[in-house]
Symmetry: C2
Subunit: 488 residues, 2 copies
């Protein structure tokens, strides 16, 4: 372990800081397969808690889970013209199976619209069979040349929702509803504020009518697309003959939506909250919320402190909260390691609270609690420790969101009308709300010149009080106010 060496600071090299942190906190590791990573238990524990929370939210909104084959006949991808254009260049292709060359190659799913809607077509006859509200937790593969741990890997884990509806409006409502679920999750659980809105034509999902997205700001001022929700219109229904008999007796094509979030969110969590000492995990997503570090010198002190520490772990672990159930407590009872080294170990790994317990603390029926985010220390009585810990965790969860929101606001610029000023902001990192003439050509020009893209046409609540009147690029009348940023 190179634990002694300090992390590169965010200021010195944000990208190096991120990679070092992910490896040092043992969230993930590089694998022998180019572009694929291993998600280690510390990282997977966060992902598991994300899954559980999202799955509960999906079920509460009426969705059911299912599982569809990972292999997709190559011909399926081609049935929706825009879809194949978008995804075919990124696929991994199975050409041999069981020692023989396949008649038709199989594509490893980059996303599952084609295979899922081909099955929906088999199951749906009448409007009575609608809506279908499905979700699947799965791995997908997109052949990426430049990969980054969690942010962009060849194989990644995600959920993909797929629904079918009788009308456009119902599908639209579903796509918007799931965008809202994502936002609630990202703000409520990851403590990561997001801007929601619609993607432009050039940034939308291949095969969608409209794509909505949640965009978050990382600590370097760059945007992370953290989740998308698509109104697919009737594009896939037409490609796969997904039809139904309407109440009036006519045969109609169904309307689909799809929506997904992935292990990329773990990278978003790191880049939203981490500091120069390592990871900071929002308590709701932390596999361990509190670590107890016993402190002792003599054998006698050790006996006293260990006994108190074990009792504390027991009583804290049994302490019930309204939500989300019991406290997740770890006792670091390793011997031969100094308390300071333990503090460092758990700070790197982002455990929200540390409880220090020495012989004098035990004698005084107290302990010291240290918050990971602020590093603030407080003395707490062992009599009320359950309440104090639960209270601190709740406050930390809320404070992390507030701090992230303040950082985002500080780097968000409105009323920018000079393209030069815009370029400076993009170089420094930040969000710019500005007017756009609606022309893909001006969008492409900015992307080429500044590497910035239109993240979204923001939803009303995020728009400026005074709408921009001119296009930032061309000076022509603005058609939309849009959010510009460089993105991961």
């Amino acid at each position: 372990m190179a634990d002694e060496k300090k992390l590169t600071t965010r200021a010195a090299d944000f990208s190096a800081w991120y990679n070092e942190l992910v490896l040092r906190a043992e969230l993930a590791d590089y694998s022998p397969v180019r572009g694929c990573m291993v998600i280690r238990p510390n990282g997977y524990g966060i992902w598991e808690r994300m899954q559980r929370a999202l799955d509960d939210m999906f079920k509460a909104t009426g969705h059911v889970n299912a599982y569809f084959p990972m292999f997709i006949p190559e011909s399926f991808l081609s049935k929706e013209a825009e879809h194949v254009e978008g995804f075919a260049p990124e696929t991994a292709v199975v050409t041999h199976g069981g020692g023989k060359k396949l008649e038709e190659p199989l594509v490893v799913r980059p996303t599952s619209e084609t295979i899922i809607y081909s099955m929906f077509a088999k199951w749906v006859q009448s409007y009575r069979d609608l809506p279908l509200l499905y979700n699947q937790w799965a791995n997908v593969v997109r052949w990426e040349m430049r990969t980054r741990l969690f942010l962009r890997t060849m194989e990644f884990l995600w959920q993909e929702g797929h629904t079918a509806h009788a009308t456009h409006d119902e599908a639209e409502e579903e796509a918007r509803k799931m965008l809202g679920v994502y936002r609630d999750f990202m703000e409520g659980w990851i403590a990561m504020p997001v801007i929601t809105g619609q993607k432009t034509e050039s940034e939308k999902f291949a095969g969608a009518l409209r794509t909505y997205a949640c965009e978050a700001m990382m600590q370097d001022g760059k945007a992370l697309q953290a989740g998308t929700s698509h109104n697919l219109g009737q594009n896939f229904a037409k490609a796969f003959d997904l039809t139904f008999q309407s109440e009036a007796g006519t045969i109609e094509h169904a309307w689909n939506t799809s929506w997904g979030v992935s292990t990329r969110m773990v990278g978003g969590l790191v880049m939203t909250h981490g500091d120069d000492n390592g990871l900071i995990t929002p308590p709701l997503l932390a596999p361990i919320e509190l670590v107890i570090v016993p402190i002792w010198r003599t054998d006698e002190e050790k006996a006293t402190v260990f006994e108190a520490a074990r009792n504390l772990k027991q009583s804290l672990g049994a302490w019930e909260r309204r939500a989300p159930a019991r406290l997740r407590v770890h006792l670091d009872d390793r011997e031969g390691i100094k308390p300071g080294a333990k503090y460092y170990h758990w700070e790197t790994r982002g455990i929200p609270l540390r409880l220090e317990l020495g012989p004098r603390d035990v004698a005084a029926n107290q302990c010291v609690l240290v918050r990971r985010d602020t590093r603030a220390k407080q003395v707490a009585s062992l009599d009320t420790i359950g309440e104090d810990v639960a209270e601190l965790l709740m406050r930390m969860q809320a404070d992390l969101l507030t701090a992230a929101r303040e950082r985002m606001d500080a780097r968000t610029h409105r009323g920018v009308t000079s393209y030069d000023q815009f370029r400076e902001i993009m170089d420094a990192g930040g969000f710019v709300y500005a007017g756009w003439n609606g022309d893909p050509a001006s969008e492409a020009r900015v992307k080429e010149e500044t590497k910035a893209t239109i993240r979204v046409i923001p939803d009303p609540e995020f728009r400026s009080a005074e709408a921009p009147t001119r296009c930032l690029v061309t000076g022509e009348p603005a058609k939309h106010e849009v959010l510009w940023a460089r993105a991961y």
Copy 2:
């Protein structure tokens, strides 16, 4: 829906009965990809509950979850000689990615020993880093020519545990412990009794030192291998240089175990409990435990009954049991469908309890409860309905295990010494405990002549009070008592 047509009976054609049931209960469906199936929400709901229960058991025994790449470099598979011989003929191979031919083909994991132990080798330096107790939930692919829904599919879902230990004995203890966890789960949750024991050399996992298995008896008297646990010895540690410095300072190879269960267990559940009316789900694994069917003729009756039914769903759903949490209740409030058709619908799908509620029931503050397994009816007061339902579900869970055990015992034969009699039993379906000379040649001969295989050398508690002295096949002195059966 062909719901009107009766299922083929088990007696008439067990195999047709199974396939029809799986499709009719909407547990799974065939997909456009040969050998791959779609797990539909009814089937996936059972799998989700299996996952949750097993995951809790793995965590309670100190294991953590992680995720490793699905693609394995072809060269990795070859590093363990027996392993590659066993798995190479069954692999799906990715030869192209991102539009280009790959330098080294990638195999889609048939199992993950190779990729996981290559990573363990990177992480383990000292005996202090051991044991590693990992599990992963994943999809795997084995190229099968003859596939059956749930029982044998090209892609399937499973968990694979992978551990590394400092000594042989620790690894052995782990392999046996996880076999015990599997047995507890299969009997406690699936209500499926199993025989545990060791596989013979010819039936063990490719690359293992020893393989242990849980074998269940299906209603046709055939065996289903429902889970396996392997002591891998140092085979993979040697192939992947997984070494550690011992406490004494020497460099040693680690000892590994791996163990897995899959969606195949859903097929086992069906073939253990299903009857000629359809699926029977053990309550602990049922996504819906109780379905309320309101009965009415007039609009007035409908209003009364619906109000009572909704209140009932509400109060039952809120009714707290000690474990496993709240009652899972569904109200079938569809209109235009007769009660009888609803009964049929939910019976096919295996919902453990049906609650019938008509206007006279409401007036009398009562309802009728019908068990899916025995079809026994009982009148219950609405005042104590929560307790009654919880009690019935518990009893049904226990009764299903008892009934399955009785069926297994009835078709289990001991003291068989005539090979002719043995062949008759195999033709009829059943388990035979008999002596074996320990020679792979006699094992192979029986397999060829009768299609029966040695399922396990049973653990002591399953062995006959009087051990057989002669080999069933050759008449030579018996080396082991073994369990013979035809298997899925």
